[in-house]
Assembly symmetry: C2
Homo-oligomer: 436 residues x 2
Amino acid sequence: MRAVDLIRRKRDSGELTREEIEELISAYTRGDVPDYQMSAWLMAVVLCGMSRPEIAALTEAMLHSGSVLDFSDLRGRKVDKHSTGGVGDKTSLVIAPIVAAGGLKVPMISGRGLGHSGGTLDKLESIPGFNVNLSLTDFRRVLDACGCALIGQTAEIAPADKKIYALRDVTGTVESPALICASIMSKKLAEGIDALVLDVKTGSGAFMKKIDDAANLAELLVETGKRMGKKVVALLTDMNQPLGRKAGNAMEVAESIEVLSGEGPADLSDLCQELAAWMFFLGERVKTVEEGKKLSADLIASGKARQKFREIVGLQGGDVGVIDDPQRLARASQTLDVTSRADGFIAATQCEQLGTACVVLGGGREKKEDAIDPAVGIEFHKRIGDAVTRGEPLCTLHYNAATRLDEARRLVETAYKIEPEKPKTIPPLIYRVIGA
Amino acid sequence: MRAVDLIRRKRDSGELTREEIEELISAYTRGDVPDYQMSAWLMAVVLCGMSRPEIAALTEAMLHSGSVLDFSDLRGRKVDKHSTGGVGDKTSLVIAPIVAAGGLKVPMISGRGLGHSGGTLDKLESIPGFNVNLSLTDFRRVLDACGCALIGQTAEIAPADKKIYALRDVTGTVESPALICASIMSKKLAEGIDALVLDVKTGSGAFMKKIDDAANLAELLVETGKRMGKKVVALLTDMNQPLGRKAGNAMEVAESIEVLSGEGPADLSDLCQELAAWMFFLGERVKTVEEGKKLSADLIASGKARQKFREIVGLQGGDVGVIDDPQRLARASQTLDVTSRADGFIAATQCEQLGTACVVLGGGREKKEDAIDPAVGIEFHKRIGDAVTRGEPLCTLHYNAATRLDEARRLVETAYKIEPEKPKTIPPLIYRVIGA
């Protein structure tokens, strides 16, 4: 194999064989193909696309670049959920305990915040002491002990993805359904799971703004997972406004605990129960999705899901006191209300801007090496369709340093579209289920 | 400027400003933009193209990445010729002495063989002692002394092109009219010339197989040169069969001396005189191209062009004895005739294969570090339209090592298309002149 020939073939919209893709990825992972050839190939993939068999081959090559975990000796089916990311999307923190409380195993490998979107690892780390950097041995131990463990990608898991992802980030080659699919699925399939529920988000706060693009990606993910012998469905869900009422790491942990306690906002609670229901269904814990929803609701009402979260936090070194007293979480020293400039109704939000505002306050990273302030965030008081009067607060910014407060405020102020008439349609929580 | 933003813009078929292109190229040249970002950008350019202003900006940025020579203090207009390359294309060796003998200055910076095509530097180096690696000071001295100097690209000339060219070669990003244009023109404009004649080749032995692609490139080259204030024309010429009767470094030098002596094949002689005529015309040595052709013919007939070649060879350290006795050039020890398998007429040649056969015999490089055997080559006995009988020699291979003789013979045998009827059309030498 000459890498340049494979680059040229893809550039001319040709197809690569399974063997060629495997060799390219393994040569790149061991450093025999340099970054500059890989980035040219990645750009050719972004612009010329990949066939379904090519995507499957790429996913497998990336998956087998590292360890594939095997939990088959642990009792119970292994299921996971993956979201393509958005603003206020904290469902992992709620779902993982619910599903583990229901008797399935949830070996969840998550990521950090990316661009305007938050990340499960950053949220968990706002719980004092919580360790997301478990060794694979400890990962298995915690999973075995309580049915769930939540960690970050280790060096053993899909090293090809780690290397390619870092390269894509700096070479303008992120936005490719084929590459996104291979990246997600190689990591998730390495978890040794039987089933996977995907939450593919679309709208102004998602990476896929257009519903058709999101649906395409969802189909690709489902097909790729099924080719690899896994049970997979994708829920196409709305991200035209934040999920729940809070964005910001510690604030999202607090809100997750509310939902696990049977409280919290309806949209977040509904989506969590829906996703958990599909996990129960694919994990063969229930016969129907409806039954799964009932089970999820019961596990919340009985306090078992909340108790499971306490167990996980404890086993991963976190302060379990935060479950009963979320005040123990970091809190920002200052708040500022952003108010409406007009009477009317919320017609739409530029949701990515709301996420960016949270990053600007210090809740996310603009560069890899940036430190995160777990305390800061935004509380959202209004949702699309809500009436609002001039001077009424739209959101409250929670901040510590005022350095970039103006920038965050401007982002938030301009993110709300207020119109005199109530909007005719309000985005649904879930558009449809793909692969069921 | 963030390089990734410029990559993303080009990937989305957007346009970059002059300043952005300048900054990208200068940051890459000084090593602040890494290869892997440049190769992603280059691939985006190959697939999404560049606007005319972008191409002009890229050419200028590459030109100004190094020294731009200034020969304005030397008497006489400075003119040059550049060919996009082919098989048996030795016109530089003939034209440079003709035009210098006619009183213009020819500061010619040439390249080496690339792929199946030969290179002026490799041909010149088959003259014992000939030094193509002159310093810029010696380049000027020889140019001043005899009106012409023939060297390779130095470190001072367009270093951005040198770096980008090496990267393109290994990242499948050679085939872009925009990048080819910027590469050629940045080097040629650095020569401090007033006028440039381009020989853009098309056909089975050219890099641009299709005449429309070649015409597009020719227009791009001409427009870019004119934008920079130079007089430029492009001759769109045929490369569906080798130019002249010989390919191979020393053999091509011998054939060039034949033409300079008023002998040699008509196609080569005609094209050289036509190109020289355009150089005389653009260099304002003559009032019409016709007059330029007459001047070229006179300079050959009078022996002045041949005498000028002797001067150049002498000033660049070469053995001037080869001019009178081409037998002093390296000669292969063995020959093999490749004969026709049928009666009929030559209908077409797969000319790139003939060039590759020459490389296989050792006359060119397959890898950068390969050594060249100056003696080997191919003599072509038949041209398109010629009658041929079964068993009659089509070509003679001149070789030293028999190691890859079979491979070369197969390439040559299958390169000739022989049909029972005489072909209705025979490719013309020159299709048209662009930019006149």
